[in-house]
Amino acid sequence: MLTITDLHKSFETADAPMPVLRGVDMEIATGECVALTGESGSGKSTLLHLVAALDTFDRGSITLDGQEFSGMGDTARANLRRTRIGVIFQQFNLIPSLSVGDNLSFHARLSDRYDAAWQAELTERLGLSELVHRWPEQLSGGQQQRVAVGRAIAARPALVLADEPTGNLDEATGSAVMDLLLDLVAETQATLLMVTHSGALAARLNRRIHLRHGRVAEVAAA
């Protein structure tokens, strides 16, 4: 489903380009849930951003269901993000000017995949029915992250990307959010790639890919 081949990415610094990814190869099958681990600076977040089509890479290739990322323009990448990918950030990144309900349905409506029944069910399952008229600022961290999960899943994306989704939450809340996320991913038959540094979290997924110095160092079944 997702194929990454010899992926290189470096960032411009004052002196010289600083390589972050130095030839990453991986393959993820449809419906698979993969944990991306590694130390700080190993390139795991950068890799996630590249897979989310948020940034361009220097060399190599990423294909999602056969669609090659390299050579895509701004608009094409935006289309891809809108229609195929759902992203969940550590900081939730809800839209503060919109109500919880509008936040939940925002991505789906943006990609024209809004389905009222599914939206209602999703809201119910996330336990947010009482909160749809509230503003994000009035929610707790766990509630906000559940909104972010709902927003990502509502459009039924093929690929869900999560960057430390529970990093800002306490263990119990994080675990509950994680349960919901895994359930919904499984139910929508989406593929999940999740950056985490928590071994326990990684253990709940199908597979774990460990990055070191911008390369895949270890692939292990959970």
Binding site: A78, S97, D102, E137, G141
Partner: protein, 806 residues
């Protein structure tokens, strides 16, 4: 440690030169407009004071004969010999090549020692001053204006003499003015006794006129004009501070991580604050110096127009060049500092309360906005209530300006509430997620932009208000000129003999010869002119009367009635049917009934209109020089009169020329207002720009998720531009009623108290469209740069939002 912290803080500006440019620019512009206006006011006031000091009317009482403009100098000697300590003055106007100069003849031997132009009795100036050739003392500027070929005594340039004033010995002045043996008034020396010399001493009934204070009384007339300028200066200053506020806010946002790091590294908060204050002070000082310098340039370029305005409106002589005053520099710097402090207070407050670790929760904008709007709404209602009360009761200039202030502040405060309601409605009716987000986001953004939008609202409503007033005034004025200038030709004889000749000649040549003779006198303690007009249909059919008794025109001929101008009626609270008494030169009195009140725009002084025959009978010395001629052969009559009497072109003019001249003076009067209007709007645009730049940075976390969800940067930029334009459009539309309110206050309250005339207010919708266009343009320009920068934001910058710490 302090130095290290300061260097660290300052390093921020090195990487963001544009930001420090906006910060400094805002402060410079605010200081410049404020201090420029102050410089103009100071210069004008100094000119008044100088004029009053030169004429000795600032500190000394004067004696004038009742009802006469001049008197025999033997009366002066009689008073001196009776022990009255008075000093003689000869005053008059001298026309040279069409320019008017004020001649002041003094007797240096008896003049008060501190009369500025008096030559020192111990100085060698005295010999030349009293010599047979005479000597003219005048300022450098005035000396330059004197025609080179005029037959005048030698000129010596001297500091401290009022503009356009020529000071000379009393004998020289009598010669130049053709007033041999005559005096205009007497200065009462400080050590002289109180009271009025009895009639027996010199055979003259005297009026003793109290000193008019340092500004020579002209301030009472010009106050309104200066208050206007000050109001504009303050508006511009306030708008400029919005820029500073935005820039400082921007810098704070960007330096937040740096500040956190410094705090985390153990820098005490107090020291950090201190260093920030030091940094701010240094920047304010820098900007203050530049601002005052720029203000000087602005003032210098506006001053000639201001001088022309004051001359045209009030006859006040103001120097056309600016002198540098240390006090003005210092206040300019103080204003810059104070402004910077005011604008930075919020940032310093936020720095002081900044948590060491960044908050994970999104900013609680909804609650904050609602709370702020509640407070603003209540304050706005208070302002509007005050304005409503004042609109019914305001009768002084100060009350008028308070009313204006209440209206403008109320409007500014209610702007966020109004916009919020409109945007909320828009969001509810929006279809599609993007549109919905746009409305909602505009509403949120509005909180941050509200200061800049308020600035825009103020600039726009001032623009509409002043524009409406000026255009209403122009329409009224041209209509009034048509009524007032009915005769086809106006002629002024060079002397009384020629006046008689002209009258004789014209009687056979034209349909009617209408003398227009006038004299200056004092009614009560205020000066007034008395005009004589003939009984003719020219007046009774056209003259613009506001209120009248029946048969007003006929009653003039009886000598029992007079007409007065609107200014006089307003100032002295007179209505038709009331009585006035004109003192006569022979010591008698002329009691009359006010038969009518007429409008008299552009005239600062009170005016009484009586029958010309009766006037010349009762004032035998009146100058019989001016005539209005009715004819249908305008060109021929002018050509013939010019040939026959060798009249220069300024002594014989047709109606059209006078109208053109009047309108030209009118236009000049409002040049300054127009210039300040444009400057204020420009500053508002700058405020919007800096606010947008600040906002853009703070809004990145709100935009990045949208981008992550699949909106291109270009689409986001377009949405941003649309939002700002929509806000500007809404603000402009809301500015229209506010501007009309301002115009109403100007025409119905401020004009009445300041000038003494009421104006009908017209509306000019075409002008509103122009302003709406202008504000959209303003917004487009202000938003252009930030939006362009958004469209070009590197993905990595956007991705930075998602990193764990921002």
């Amino acid at each position: 440690m302090t130095g290290l912290i300061l260097r660290t803080l300052l390093s921020h500006w090195r990487s963001r030169p544009f930001q420090i440019v906006t910060l400094l620019l805002g402060l410079i512009v605010a200081t410049a407009l404020w201090s420029g206006v102050q410089a103009i006011n100071a210069e004008a006031r100094a000119s008044y004071a100088q004029a009053a000091a030169t004429l000795g009317t600032d500190r000394f009482d004067s004696l004038r004969p009742r009802g006469a403009q001049r008197f025999d100098q033997r009366a002066y000697v009689a008073l001196r010999r009776a022990g009255w300590l008075v000093s003689p003055i000869v005053e008059g106007d001298l026309r040279l090549d069409g320019a008017r100069f004020r001649v002041l003849g003094i007797d240096p031997v008896t003049a008060p020692a501190d009369l500025p132009a008096r030559p020192d009795l111990q100085g060698d100036a005295l010999t030349g001053f009293l010599g047979q050739a005479g000597l003219i003392l005048t300022g450098a500027q005035t000396a330059g204006r004197l025609p080179a070929d005029a037959d005048l005594p030698p000129v010596r340039v001297m500091d401290g003499i009022a503009p356009r004033t020529l000071v000379m010995d009393i004998g020289t002045a009598q010669r130049l003015l053709g007033m041999s043996g005559q005096l205009s008034r007497l200065i009462v020396l400080p050590e002289a006794q109180d009271g009025i010399p009895p009639l027996a001493v010199a055979g003259i009934e005297w009026n003793r006129i109290a000193p008019r204070g340092a500004d020579g009384g002209i301030a009472a007339l010009t106050d309104s004009f200066h208050l206007n300028l000050t109001a504009f200066g303050f508006l511009a200053f306030a708008v400029g501070l919005f820029i500073v506020y935005s820039s400082i806010g921007l810098a704070f946002e960007q330096r937040k991580p740096m500040l956190r790091t410094l705090r985390a590294l153990g820098v005490p908060l107090r020291l950090l604050m201190l260093v920030m204050v030091v940094e701010l002070t240094a920047l304010a000082l820098l900007a203050g110096i530049a601002g005052v310098a720029l203000g000087y340039l602005i003032a210098a370029s506006l001053l000639p127009d201001v001088a022309a305005t004051l001359q045209g409106l009030y006859g006040a002589q103001v120097s056309g060049t600016l002198s540098l005053r240390p006090a003005w520099w210092l206040t300019g710097l103080a204003i810059a500092m104070g402004g910077a402090g005011l604008a930075a207070a919020d940032t310093l407050w936020r720095t002081a309360r900044m948590p060491l670790l960044s908050a994970a929760l999104p900013e609680a904008w909804h609650g904050a906005q609602r709370r702020a709007q509640r407070v603003q709404g209540i304050a706005a209602l208070g302002c509007f209530a005050l304005a409503a009360v004042l609109s019914q009761t305001a009768s002084s200039l100060t009350a008028g300006f308070v009313l204006m202030g209440a209206l403008l502040i109320g409007a500014a405060l209610s702007l966020p509430v109004m916009l919020s309601v409109i945007l909320g409605l828009g969001a509810r009716r929006a279809r599609g997620p993007l549109a919905q987000w746009g409305w909602a986001d505009a509403r949120q953004q509005m909180s941050r932009l509200s200061l800049a939008l308020m600035a825009l609202l103020l600039a726009l409503s001032a623009n509409i208000g002043v524009g409406t007033m000026v255009m209403s005034f122009r329409d009224t004025f041209t209509g009034w000129l048509d009524q007032r200038l009915v005769a086809e030709v106006y002629v002024t004889a060079s002397d009384a003999a020629q006046g008689q000749e002209i009258q004789r000649w014209a009687q056979g040549r034209v349909d009617a010869v209408l003398p227009i003779w006038s004299t200056e006198t004092r009614l009560g303690d205020m000066p007034a002119s008395i005009y004589g007009v003939a009984q003719h249909a020219t007046y009774s059919d056209h003259w613009p009367l506001i209120e009248e008794l029946p048969d007003a025109w006929q009653s003039l001929a009886s000598g029992q009635a007079a007409m007065i101008n609107e200014q006089m009626a307003g100032r002295r609270d007179l209505s038709p049917g009331d009585r006035i008494t004109v003192p006569l030169p022979d010591g008698g009195e002329w009691p009359m009934i006010v038969a009518a009140i007429y409008s008299d725009y552009g005239n600062p002084t009170d005016q009484v209109m009586v029958d010309v025959d009766l006037l010349s009978e009762r004032f035998p010395d009146i100058e019989r020089l001016r005539f209005a001629l009715r004819t249908d052969q305008t060109a021929e009559i002018i050509a013939e009169a010019r040939d026959r009497f060798a009249l220069p072109s300024d002594q014989i003019t047709d109606q059209a020329a006078i109208k053109a001249l009047s309108l030209a003076i009118f236009e000049r009067t409002f040049t300054v207002t127009g210039a300040l209007n444009v400057l204020t709007l420009a500053v508002a645009a700058l405020a919007l720009l800096t606010a947008m730049l600040t906002l853009q940075l703070m809004r990145l976390p709100w935009l990045a998720p949208l981008w992550a969800m699949g909106l291109t940067r270009a689409a986001l930029a377009r949405a941003e531009l649309l939002k700002v334009m929509a806000l500007a459009l809404l603000t402009a539309i809301l500015a229209i009623p506010v501007g009309l309110g301002v115009a109403w206050v100007l025409t119905n309250v401020i004009n009445v108290t300041a000038f003494g005339w009421r104006l009908p207010m017209n509306v000019y919708p075409a002008d509103w469209l122009r302003l709406i266009g202008l504000s959209l343009l303003t917004a487009a320009i202000a938003a252009g740069l930030p939006v362009l920068r958004l469209a070009r934001t590197a993905p990595r910058t956007l991705l930075g939002v998602f990193a764990s710490e921002r």
